[in-house]
C-alpha cells in the first residue's frame, strides 16, 4: 500500500516538472515584465537594474529552478494587474471555486447514480426513457446557455434565486471562506452548482446505466438470482458495487474538469472564484496568475488521480492483490 502510493507520487513528479516548465516559460518569456512595470519611457540603466533585481539576467535553468522552488513555497510572483502577490489572490479565490465544484460534484453524484441505477434496472420503463431524453439535453446543452436559461427562469422571471455573486461569506480559519453558513450564501450557490453539475450528472447517469446493464448480464448476477437473493441485494449490493470502479474513474477525472473549466460558469454568474480570476488575467495578460493557475490545476489532477487509484484499492480486491504482489516483487 505504502509502496504503491510512493510509486504513484514518484510517477507524478515528471508531470509536475513538465507543467512547471511550461508555466515558467509563460512566466518568463510571454510579455516583458520590465516594460510592463517601468513603462515605455524607462532608461536602459533602469531596465537593466530591474531585470537584475527580478533575476531575469540569470541562466534559464537557474531561473526555472528558482521559479519552482518559490512556487513550492507558495510564492508565484506578483500579479501585474493588481500588484498583489499571486498566492494571496489565489488563496482569496480558491475557496469559492472549491465550494462550487464540490457542491456541483456531490449534486451530480447524488442525483446521477440513483437515476443511472434506476435506468439500468428498469431499462424500458417510462421514467428511464424520460431520463435518457433529458440526459441527452444535459449532455448537448452548452454550459453558458444553460446558465443563462436558469438565470432567466429562476432569477428574472420567478425572482427566487440571485443571478450573480457568492452572497455573504464567513471566514473560517486563516484563509478559507464559506458561503454555507447563511441561507443567502446557499441560495447564491444553487444556480451555479446546477449549471456546473448538470453535464456531469447526465454523464454519470449514462455511465452508471450502461455499466448496470452490462453487470446485470453477468453470470455472477444470474447466480445471485439462483441463490434467491432479494432484488435489493442483487441490484444495490452486487450490481452497483461492480459498476463502481469505472464510475469512480469518471467522477474523479470529471472533478478535475469541473474545477479547471468552472470558468464559464463563474463568468456567467460572476462567481468570485479562480475561473473568473483566470478570465480577468487573460484579458489583461497577467502572466504570473496564469502560470500559477496552470501549476495548481496540474497539481489538482495529480492529486485526483492518486485518490482515484486509492479508491480502486478499496473497492476491488483483485487490484489489492496485484498491488501486494507488486510490492513483494519490489522488495
Amino acid at each position: 500500500m505504502f509502496a504503491f502510493i510512493a510509486s504513484r507520487i514518484l510517477q507524478a513528479v515528471p508531470v509536475l516538472l513538465a507543467v512547471g516548465l511550461i508555466a515558467f516559460a509563460l512566466f518568463a518569456y510571454v510579455g516583458d515584465p520590465v516594460t510592463i512595470i517601468l513603462g515605455q519611457d524607462a532608461t536602459d540603466a533602469q531596465r537593466r537594474a530591474l531585470a537584475h533585481d527580478l533575476g531575469l539576467d540569470r541562466p534559464f535553468f537557474v531561473q526555472y529552478a528558482h521559479y519552482l522552488w518559490s512556487a513550492a513555497q507558495g510564492d508565484f510572483g506578483i500579479s501585474l494587474r493588481l500588484a498583489q502577490p499571486v498566492s494571496a489572490l489565489i488563496a482569496e479565490r480558491l475557496p469559492a471555486t472549491l465550494e462550487l465544484a464540490v457542491t456541483a460534484s456531490v449534486l451530480a453524484f447524488a442525483v446521477g447514480v440513483p437515476m443511472g441505477v434506476h435506468a439500468g434496472i428498469h431499462r424500458d420503463s417510462f421514467v428511464s426513457r424520460l431520463f435518457m431524453v433529458v440526459s441527452l439535453i444535459g449532455v448537448s446543452l452548452p454550459t453558458f446557455v444553460l446558465g443563462i436559461l436558469l438565470i432567466l427562469v429562476f432569477s428574472v422571471s420567478l425572482n427566487w434565486l440571485p443571478s450573480f455573486g457568492r452572497g455573504p461569506v464567513v471566514a473560517v480559519g486563516s484563509w478559507w471562506t464559506t458561503g454555507f453558513t447563511s441561507w443567502a450564501g446557499i441560495r447564491a450557490l444553487i444556480l451555479p452548482a446546477v449549471t456546473l453539475g448538470l453535464f456531469q450528472m447526465t454523464l454519470i447517469m449514462r455511465l452508471v446505466r450502461s455499466e448496470m446493464l452490462e453487470v446485470l448480464r453477468t453470470d455472477y448476477i444470474r447466480f445471485a438470482r439462483a441463490r434467491g437473493l432479494t432484488d435489493r441485494a442483487i441490484h444495490f449490493s452486487h450490481a452497483l458495487k461492480n459498476t463502481l470502479v469505472p464510475v469512480i474513474t469518471i467522477i474523479g477525472l470529471q472533478f478535475g474538469g469541473i474545477v479547471a473549466f468552472s470558468l464559464v460558469t463563474e463568468t456567467v454568474f460572476q462567481w468570485p472564484g479562480m475561473g473568473l480570476l483566470l478570465v480577468q488575467s487573460v484579458v489583461s495578460a497577467d502572466i504570473p496568475v496564469m502560470s500559477a493557475y496552470l501549476l495548481l490545476i496540474a497539481l489538482l489532477f495529480v492529486a485526483i488521480n492518486l485518490t482515484v487509484d486509492l479508491l480502486y484499492f478499496c473497492v476491488d480486491p483483485r487490484l489489492r492483490a496485484l498491488g501486494r504482489r507488486a510490492e513483494t516483487r519490489g522488495r
Partner: protein, 321 residues
C-alpha cells in the same frame, strides 16, 4: 414421492429470424432423494430446461406451454417474489462456468453468509460457522482461513466447489447441477460425487444432474434422460438406458462411448449434426428430429413425430420401440 414434475414444457425464444423453440414438449419427474441424469449433445436444451424450472430463462425467453410442479404446487406461474423465496432455499442451482459465477468483489464467506441469512433465521456468527463447515464439506482445505478470501484467490476447481457450497448452503430439496464437475480433476470430482450421493441418500435431496460425462451418470444417477433437439428421446433407469439403449440415438451415444463410458463429445461420430431450432421454418425436420441421422429410418419417421411410450423399463420416443 414425486418432488418435481415437468409436464410438456415448451420454451420459446423470439429472435430476429423468428420464434425459436429450444425446448419442445419435455416431461419428466424427479422423486425425493433421486438423482436424475440429463445427457445429450451440446445445444440439446439441457441448460434451458434447468433455467425454465427455476424461472431464470435468459431474456427474452419464456415458458410458452406446459407446467412445472414442485412439491405438488405449480411454480411456473408464481409471482417473482415467491419464486425468489423458492430459489436457493428449496431449489438450488449450479451453473456451468465456475470461473464467472462468483461475485469478484465479495469474499466467499460473505457470499455464503448472505445466502444463508436470506433464507434461514441465522445470526451472523452462526451463519459464519456454517459457512466454514460448508467449505470444509465441499473439500476446501484450511476453510478457517479461506473463508475470508476472494474468488480470484481460488483455483478453478476450488471455485466450483465454492459454487456448490453456495447452492447447497440453504439446504434445498432439489439441486439442479449443470455440469458441476466438468472443471474438476478426477479426485475432486470423486469427492463432489460422493457429496451429492450422500446428500441424496441421507437428506433426501433430489438432484437433476446435467452432464456430458457418462461415467458420472453411471456412477451416481438412478435414472437418466437423453435429450435431443429440445426433446427427451429416452428416459429410464441408468442400467437399462446404458446397457440396453432402445432409441437409435441413445444406441449411437453408447456405441460411441468405448467400453469405459466417457465423454459425449465423440458423438460427432454419428453422421450429421443435431438440428438447431433457430426460429426459421425449416430448421427442424418434419417428423422425428433424429431421422436425417438415423440408421434405421423409415417412412413414418419422416412424417410423424414419435411421442414417449413405454418400452421395457424405459420411456422411448421412437416408432421402432
Amino acid at each position: 414421492m414425486t418432488l418435481l414434475s415437468v409436464r410438456d414444457l415448451v420454451v420459446e425464444i423470439p429472435s430476429r429470424r423468428g420464434l425459436a423453440r429450444p425446448i419442445d414438449g419435455v416431461s419428466f419427474d424427479i422423486e425425493k432423494g433421486e438423482i436424475l441424469g440429463i445427457v445429450g449433445e451440446s445445444g440439446a436444451g439441457k441448460s434451458l430446461t434447468g433455467a425454465a424450472i427455476t424461472g431464470l430463462l435468459p431474456n427474452p425467453g419464456r415458458i410458452a406451454g406446459g407446467m412445472v410442479l414442485f412439491d405438488g404446487n405449480r411454480i411456473d406461474d408464481l409471482p417473482a417474489t415467491r419464486m425468489r423465496r423458492l430459489r436457493g432455499r428449496r431449489i438450488g442451482m449450479i451453473f456451468q462456468d465456475p470461473l464467472t459465477t462468483l461475485d469478484p468483489l465479495f469474499t466467499v464467506g460473505q457470499q455464503l453468509v448472505e445466502t444463508m441469512r436470506t433464507h434461514l433465521p441465522l445470526s451472523d456468527t452462526a451463519a459464519r460457522t456454517r459457512a466454514r463447515d460448508w467449505l470444509d464439506r465441499v473439500g476446501i482445505p484450511a476453510a478457517n482461513r479461506r473463508i475470508d478470501a476472494y474468488p480470484h484467490e481460488f483455483s478453478g476447481g476450488q471455485r466450483q466447489r465454492v459454487v456448490i457450497a453456495l447452492a447447497l448452503c440453504a439446504e434445498p430439496d432439489l439441486l439442479i447441477a449443470d455440469e458441476p464437475t466438468t472443471a474438476l480433476d478426477v479426485s475432486v470430482q470423486a469427492h463432489i460425487i460422493a457429496l451429492l450421493r450422500a446428500l441424496a441418500r441421507e437428506r433426501g435431496t433430489a438432484v437433476m444432474l446435467i452432464t456430458h460425462d457418462m461415467g458420472v451418470i453411471a456412477e451416481i444417477a438412478d435414472r437418466v434422460a437423453v435429450m435431443y433437439a429440445g426433446r427427451i428421446v429416452e428416459i429410464g433407469p441408468v442400467d437399462a438406458v446404458i446397457r440396453h439403449p432402445t432409441h437409435p440415438y441413445t444406441d449411437g451415444l453408447m456405441g460411441t462411448i468405448p467400453s469405459v463410458a466417457r465423454r459425449l463429445d465423440r458423438l460427432r461420430q454419428i453422421d450429421g449434426s443435431m438440428p438447431r431450432p433457430n426460429g426459421t421454418r425449416d430448421a427442424m425436420p418434419v417428423g422425428c428430429a433424429f431421422h436425417p441421422r438415423c440408421p434405421k429410418v423409415f417412412d413414418r419417421c419422416r412424417q410423424e413425430r414419435p411421442v414417449l411410450h413405454t418400452a421395457g423399463a424405459s420411456l422411448v420416443a421412437c416408432w421402432l420401440a
